[in-house]
């Protein structure tokens, strides 16, 4: 009887979705010839798809509710956490990973290296946004603006004053942090959802300015011929340059991981997590809410600024099209899918979301649809991401 009931419910859902998607999925109009094309096949796909998906959906929701009732006291520690605690496995694993990373540009082709560089740039961006969203719980939807600031800073300073990559790298971080402070100051005192929309607006403002301010940013045509990082005055071949940039970004990612790992358990890191959990309780413990949020926001922006400088040096060409709202959302996806607050999670999230579409070119057009579904489904079924962040537990020893 229960099975019949489930099938009936799914049939209702199927009919509903067929009705819902009818005009957009089935009918396609050609406005030039003024003809109408009927795509009945789509209706069949949607019908079959929504039947099974609605079955799955209700099963998952039920399972989630059951899980909530039981309230497992002893949460099973994740696989990654166990590994990272076991030194006998963890250290050799790190060494192996290190050797693989060093050899990577020599084993694989330049094309693979270039893809890996952009994936690692996203790892850096993801880790930076992780401070803001994952640790401090502030939704930043304009993160790409800081990335753009870093990229434009390097491109412009280099063009006008011949500033080298190594000078621009810290400058990019500092400029982004400064903008983070200026933007965050008025907004962070307010409720969290305003921040989301203001940062979204800020991202758009930076993009619009870079598009329209022709005199400085050269508008939509962008800036070309940005030099790659110098290597002790030696002129490197194209292949060697990409290998060099690969090592630079690897070092930067390790540096980022190190800093964030230290920050997480520091006084300020614990204050971020506490603020995320309960603002009022946190304030009554003597934590300055505005200041703490502001540091999270500015520190998060710093990484984006530095990643931007590396990005400009890697692509040697930037234009406003690289810094749209989609980029911000991809970075947010990385953090959400990987696991908010968890470093291993964010790294695997970035590698998965950037490398997978690269190798599944055939499905490239479904990328955005998949990302959107990831955001919704992760929030409903696994709000802590693939690799859950494990809070440090302090045991009182007598």
């Amino acid at each position: 009887m229960i099975v019949m009931d489930e099938i009936k419910k799914s049939c209702v859902a199927t009919l509903w979705f067929i009705f819902l998607t009818f005009p957009i999925a089935v009918i396609k109009i050609d406005s030039i010839n003024n003809t109408v094309k009927w795509r009945w096949l789509n209706m069949v796909y949607i019908g079959v798809g929504s039947f099974f998906l609605s079955m799955l959906w209700r099963y998952m929701i039920k399972k989630k509710e059951m899980g909530g009732q039981k309230e497992k006291k002893k949460k099973e520690a994740g696989f990654f956490y166990k590994i990272s605690q076991n030194r006998k496995i963890f250290i050799p694993l790190c060494v192996l990973l290190g050797v693989f990373t060093i050899l990577f540009p020599h084993i694989f082709s330049m094309y693979q290296t270039t893809i890996m560089i952009s994936a690692l740039i996203y790892v850096m961006l993801g880790l930076g946004l992780n401070i803001v969203v994952g640790l401090a719980g502030l939704l930043d939807l304009g993160y790409v603006a800081f990335f753009a600031l870093g990229a434009y800073l390097y491109a412009l300073l280099n063009m006008h004053y011949g500033v080298s990559f190594w000078v621009a790298l810290p400058l990019g971080g500092m400029l982004a942090a400064l903008f983070g402070l200026v933007l965050g100051y008025p907004v962070l005192k307010l409720r969290g959802d305003y921040l989301a929309i203001v940062t979204l607006g800020f991202g758009e403002i930076i993009r619009i300015i870079s598009q329209n301010w022709d005199a400085v940013t050269f508008g939509p045509s962008g800036i070309a011929n940005i030099p790659p990082p110098p290597f002790f005055g030696v002129k490197l071949s194209l292949q060697a340059t990409s290998t060099y940039i690969f090592y630079i970004i690897v070092v930067l990612v390790i540096f980022t991981i190190f800093i964030i790992n230290r920050l997480k358990d520091s006084r300020i890191g614990r204050a971020w997590v506490a603020l995320k959990d309960d603002e009022i309780a946190c304030q009554s413990m003597g934590i300055d809410k505005g200041k703490t949020k502001l540091t999270a926001f500015a520190l998060g922006a710093t990484w984006a600024g530095m990643a931007g400088v590396v990005f400009a040096a890697k692509t040697t060409f930037i234009n406003p099209a690289s810094f749209t709202i989609w980029e911000s959302i991809i970075i947010l996806c990385i953090v959400v899918l990987g696991g908010m607050g968890s470093i291993a999670g964010v790294i695997s999230g970035a590698l998965l979301l950037i490398l997978l579409p690269e190798y599944l070119r055939a499905f490239a057009q479904y990328r955005m649809l998949a990302f959107a579904s990831v955001l919704i489904l992760m929030m409903i079924f696994r709000p802590n991401g693939m690799i859950e962040n494990v809070r440090k537990i302090y045991k009182f020893k007598q």
Binding site: L20, I27, K28, I61, I197, F202, E204, A372, V374, M379
Partner: protein, 302 residues
Amino acid sequence: MDFSYLGQLLLGGLTRGSIYALLALGYTMVYGIIELINFAHGDIYMVGAFTALIASTVLLNYGVPHLAAIILAGVAAVIYSSAYGYTVEKIAYKPLRNASRLAPLISAIGASLFLESYVLLLQTSDFLPFPALIPNFKFWAPYESLFSSTELVILITTIVVMILLTVLIKFTKIGKAMRATSQDRVMAALMGINVDRVISITFIVGSAIAAIGGVLIASHIGQINFYMGFIAGIKAFVAAVLGGIGSMPGAVLGSFVLGLSESLFTGYVSSDYQDVFAFTILVAILIFRPSGLLGRSENQKV
């Protein structure tokens, strides 16, 4: 000072403001009831415009008379937008009713992105020409150059919708339930109000109003694409915050203030930066008057 130019800008601002108002009402209703920025609202409006375009083209192709086709297309847009609003709420927001504040916000971004890429994949990424559904009225001919018939219809429709909405909220049973739910959800449930149903209805009403806005602006501008809801949605949100989010008269006032000032800015300063202007206004309000023009300042209770 060129007064006819100024007049033109003011009238243009009025039209702009009415469109924002139709969208901002949906934002403010949803925010008032579940305290969520419904990022997908702008995309629901886009879906409405697409449905209207598809329906009107199909109907005209099958030889349905023009007037009937317009009305049917408008009705289809309203029905479909409401259905989409209802479904988005059921899938993306309802399971997260008791989650942390961040979760529904991220889910809302996902819903918005989903609708955009759904239309992009199944329709097109190009701009589609949208037929001028509203004819030029004969009696309005002398004023046509100053304020077109379409603009007149937009303004009148907005006013009618606002009056109907006020009646719905103030004088009907469901309106009372909405107000109760927005004040205290738990208490409302204890009084026998089906809170889930009230929230669903709020989404349906908000989406229906957005669809009306979508059809009107599409036939005013003359083209649509999958991305049109994004920036319009954000600006309507700015208008809602400007007026005081959660307050209906505030949303309307905020929309007209934003529409008029944006129109003046575009006319006298620069049209490239009109979106920047809107965001600057948003930041300025948040600094100086976070509760908006008509909003109540809220004190957080411990």
